[in-house]
């Protein structure tokens, strides 16, 4: 995968997802923080996003 992610991965989405979720768990276990994961890891409970997510359908033109 180049720096723009242009070469499609030949791995399955599920494998890639599983590996990233494993990374998240490992970082958390080690008490480390990755800015992306820290920001998005608990987004479902982040009430500040709920307003915009109500608009989150694809119909907002």
């Amino acid at each position: 995968v180049d720096k723009h992610g242009q070469v499609p991965s030949f791995e399955s989405i599920q494998l890639r997802v599983d590996r990233i979720r494993e990374m998240k768990a490992k970082l958390q276990a080690e008490g480390k923080e990755d800015v992306l994961i820290a920001k998005y890891g608990d987004i479902e409970t982040d009430t500040s996003t709920q307003f915009f997510n109500k608009f989150g359908g694809n119909f907002m033109k």
Binding site: V1, H4, M23
Partner: protein, 385 residues
Amino acid sequence: MTNLHGSQRHSQLILLQPTPFCNINCNYCYLPDRQNSQCMSHETAELIFRRCFECTYIRSPFTFLWHSGEPLSLSPDYYEKAFNSASNIAKEFNKSFDHCFQTNATLINPEWIKLIQSHKVKISISLDGPEFVHDLNRVTHSKSGTHKSAMKGIRMLQDAGISLSAICVLTDFSLDYPDEIYNFFSRNNINYVGFNIDEIEGVNLKSSYSSSDSFKRYSQFIYRFLELAHAQDNTLRVREFDIVLGTLLADSFGDFEDTTNQPLEVISFDYNGNYATFSPELLGIKTDRFDDFSMGNVRDGELDSIFRNSRFATVKAEIERGLKACKESCEYWGFCGGGPPVNKLFEHNRFDSTETLFCRVHKKILADTVLSYIENTSGLQSIST
């Protein structure tokens, strides 16, 4: 009360079309009838409020989103009266709600600011980035650009301390300008953006995403935008990153649900009081197979009567067949949940179909690109080796 899927979900979004009229004429707009200046009567609005408040499927808190035309083409007085009616009727039912405008911001003036502040109306603006991008498609009926007037309105909102988010349509042209678009939103203190693409739906019969080159450049755009957001600690938040990363990192990965393919998650009312559920774009659209998609009128009785509506039953059954086919055939299901029915209808003439241009670009390539970004930038290498 359980819904049709046996779960405890409930409607959160009530989309209201106060008028189909829009004071501008964007090139990619899907809405028909945009020069029709008829408006929803206050009698109809009050009946809609009452039906929504009394409906057991709609639970607090929910949002009345004024949309599907330019809502601010009516007067502040119109909404003052409507909002007061809603508040008065709500007291009978002990339900909480808010109002939101989806607006092009070109008509904002001090009277609107006063109304928005006094009723705590939430604001989402339609803005495609810097002027040279925005004015390519977001034009008046005489084809003049609208960026300057939109920015004037946005400044008034911001000067009054009113927070806003933006919906930005990415056409093929936009894809070469991630830095310019990022810097535009960042410098103008618009800190929450949702991207749409110009989809094939409604009266918009073509998309600028017509080749594999568009798909490649879309991926490059997303990657670069995420890179910029990440570098600045995500101070500019993007709906698409929230959705993909939030879905990816949630404990319940695989349960993604698209509210537009679930019955009664979104209910849309047109200015005549006709209503429909599923994708809001369906309301007001006619096709050979379905005629229109009205599933009832607010004057006919309670909203629960939608369950006895034959068009609702037909559409729901066809949508469910499409979702089943998606789930069985697509590995991106966990990021998508079957996608919006309206795209399937306008690309395949059926709801029981699968992949669309929208999901190929704005679901699959989006997810692939975000995954690639994480794989390239986070601590993944140390784990996978």
